[in-house]
Assembly symmetry: C2
Homo-oligomer: 205 residues x 2
């Protein structure tokens, strides 16, 4: 199977970490793709009209998206219940934590597009402030329960949090999350001991 | 349990249709919430930092998000495998179709924010063209396989498609999707025979 990939995409990073943790990384061919908002990529749009990374292309041609469903798919391939608990209260907590982190990443990408990609005269501060606030108050939420989260077996929500924090370092290096959220800093340092997390840190911007 | 809700939200509509189809609608109290980009709502941000609709608040206070995970939760509550196949190839097709439709809705909302909510002098045509193109070519994708989709038992992807088309009528009434995609038009008319779909049509804009 093939994964469309960019080392700069936090969503692709999530799948890469999951694939390493699940022992499936050698079964996946990484296919580099460049996408940018407001820029066409007709070839890639034929694979996915959303023009977003990553998608997983199976050997029979079926396309699996989005990054969350890809992780679900890989998890099932690895036997199930590995990175996403298969039952109980924990299942819904992990899934909801992950959805929150996914939305935080969406907001961070919108901030990046607003602040860097959009022509300078067309930027709207209230919009980026709102989206940054979603990511920032989301981090505050995790600061309060990251220790309970870390006590769980490694799961997709922890991967999501790693990807949020790594993306903050990559695209918003001056945002000061480490100072504001010391428990997230400790979590992030601990997570970097995992080879899957360390190898997938985004390249210097 | 409580669902934060707005009749204008296509994501909240998806959950409402699912809850009716699963026979769970009477167990859910609808809690109206108004959110808008670039506008604070501190009270709601305390419930979900993403400030998005809908979330499901369980009786024990746990918050389930996003709309997809809420439908998964309700589906399991109803016995499992009702609106999301629980195994097989179909499971991944339904989930991937749903993810595509979810991304199409995200893009349509971004178009709406760009074209209506953002101050007029700050709009960027290449951005809204790109996002509209994602929704539009996504519709073309479904036009090609809507008949196979419709032959399946009613599922979350069909609900997602209903919500995309209903949102197109609601916010982009002149986009001409019926003329461009006659099979989607036939699908939509057929779906309107379901009480869950008919009762949840967005109000006149």
């Amino acid at each position: 199977m093939k994964l469309t990939f960019s080392a700069a995409s936090p969503f692709a990073r999530k799948v890469r970490i999951a694939a390493i943790e699940l022992g499936l990384i050698d079964k996946i061919e990484f296919s580099p793709v460049t996408v940018a908002p407001a820029t066409q990529n007709e070839e890639y749009s034929r694979i996915t009209p959303l023009k977003k990374l990553p998608v997983l292309i199976l050997d029979n041609g079926e396309v699996i998206l989005d990054s969350y469903v890809i992780v679900e798919y890989l998890d099932e391939l690895a036997g199930g219940g590995k990175l996403i608990p298969s039952s109980g209260t924990l299942k819904w907590r992990v899934k909801s934590d992950h959805s929150l982190l996914q939305g935080m990443l969406d907001s961070m990408l919108l901030c990046r597009y607003e602040g860097i990609v959009r022509p300078e005269g067309l930027r709207w501060k209230a919009w980026s402030d709102d989206h940054w606030n979603r990511a920032w108050t989301g981090m505050a939420r995790f600061e309060h329960h990251v220790e309970a989260m870390q006590a769980r077996p490694f799961d997709i929500a922890q991967i999501g949090l790693v990807c949020v924090l790594g993306y903050a370092d990559f695209r918003f290096p001056d945002c000061g999350w480490r100072k504001a959220y010391p428990r997230l800093d400790a979590f992030h340092q601990k997570m970097l001991e995992r080879p899957s997390v360390k190898i997938s840190v985004p390249p210097a911007a």
